[in-house]
């Protein structure tokens, strides 16, 4: 006999995830420049490099991946996510700049078993604000939201990138 069980019954509430994305949309878009070709929700983040590459004789791409570690636990304890995105952006951009390079784009990945979409939205906004401050485009508009023990994939870009690395 067929069972009537919805995705929501299984704990995945896409509406809640949509809320997190929608409420950060403006601030994410504020980090975009003319080189950003993709829009939020696309499968792959596209960034035109023609104009930039033309300024270099022998351009080298520099990448760095990092996290905020258990500082997140302190942010949660204080219920203060205002600067956790600054931490993340600078942990990575400083690494890129330690080679002398200029950071251009940023992708992020949030995973949890119990995050509220409002908190996710605050974290993403904090990331976007610091990206904007630095002139870095937050091109990975995707989020991997693991709400209440389950996974909501909003965009595969980050997953693919993380696996690629």
């Amino acid at each position: 006999m067929k069972k009537k069980i919805s995705y929501k019954d299984a704990g995945v509430d896409i509406e809640k995830a949509d809320y997190a994305i929608a409420s950060s949309r403006d601030v994410i878009q504020s980090t975009f420049n003319k080189n950003v070709l993709s829009s939020i929700g696309g499968f792959g983040a596209m960034y035109s490099i023609k104009d930039i590459v033309n300024q270099y004789d022998d351009p080298v791409m520099v990448q760095s991946i990092d996290g905020v570690g258990t500082k997140m636990a302190v942010a949660q304890k204080c219920n203060n996510f205002d600067f956790i995105g600054y931490d993340l952006v600078n942990a990575c951009c400083n690494d890129v700049a330690a080679t002398g390079a200029k950071p251009l784009t940023f992708l992020d990945y949030i995973a949890s078993s119990s995050l509220e979409p409002k908190t996710v939205s605050e974290i993403i906004s904090s990331i976007a604000v610091e990206c904007k401050n630095l002139g870095v485009s937050l091109v990975g508009g995707g989020k991997l939201l693991k709400c209440r023990g389950l996974t909501i994939k909003m965009n595969m870009t980050w997953l693919v990138l993380l696996r690629g690395l």
Partner: protein, 203 residues
């Protein structure tokens, strides 16, 4: 991935991508004996050492986020959440202005001990005077409350230096006047030594 993350635990990861002219890559290969190690201050722990700091502050000393550190002025929560400082803009500007930065070390996990030697050649060592920069309250607190060897302390935490820049002595004055003397301390010197490590000195 249900079951991957415990209740109330979460992960935040980022990837930055940048670009550089190949001949301008800063890799430390030109560092030589007598070059100076300049330290750029951090704001706090940045993103490293939190497991130990949390254990000490919350589990062992039973302090709360609204309690004060031993200086009675600094609130625990604020000290721990002080944002990771950005150095990329400063680095990019220094390079644009023509400074010769021989080596750049972002002081993250592993502290000065493990990060500085990543970017200087073999046959050299870094002599660092740990009293050459002021310790902000969180680091003073960790020094006072942790019974740890100095080398362990400086491997776990950045101890107040978030970035090191190695320059030739002739570049030092221009760098300090550009950044300001409270934003750029001379913390050490490169010496000939086969160990390729950091020596921490009290003076």
């Amino acid at each position: 991935m249900p079951g991957t993350y415990h209740q109330n635990e979460y992960d935040l990861v980022g990837i930055a991508t940048g670009i550089i002219e190949r001949k301008n890559i800063v890799d430390g290969s030109s560092v030589k004996e007598g070059d100076l190690i300049m330290g750029i201050p951090s704001n706090g722990l940045h993103t490293n050492g939190y497991s130990l700091a949390r254990k000490l502050i919350f589990d062992v000393l039973h302090l709360g986020i609204d309690d004060m550190l031993s200086d009675q002025k600094t609130v625990v929560g604020n000290a721990l959440l002080a944002p990771h400082k950005n150095y990329s803009q400063m680095i990019n500007i220094l390079i644009e202005k023509g400074f010769t930065l021989k080596s750049l070390a972002h002081i993250t996990g592993g502290g000065l001990i493990d990060n500085v030697p990543r970017v200087f050649p073999g046959g050299l060592a870094a002599q660092i005077n740990i009293n050459s920069w002021p310790k902000i309250p969180i680091f003073q607190f960790l020094i006072e409350n942790l019974d740890l060897k100095t080398s362990e302390l400086y491997r776990t935490f950045n101890m107040g230096i978030g970035l090191t820049i190695i320059v030739s002595p002739s570049e030092k004055d221009r760098l300090v006047s550009m950044l300001g003397e409270k934003n750029c301390y001379e913390i050490g010197i490169m010496v000939t030594d086969s160990s390729k490590q950091v020596y921490l000195n009290e003076k």
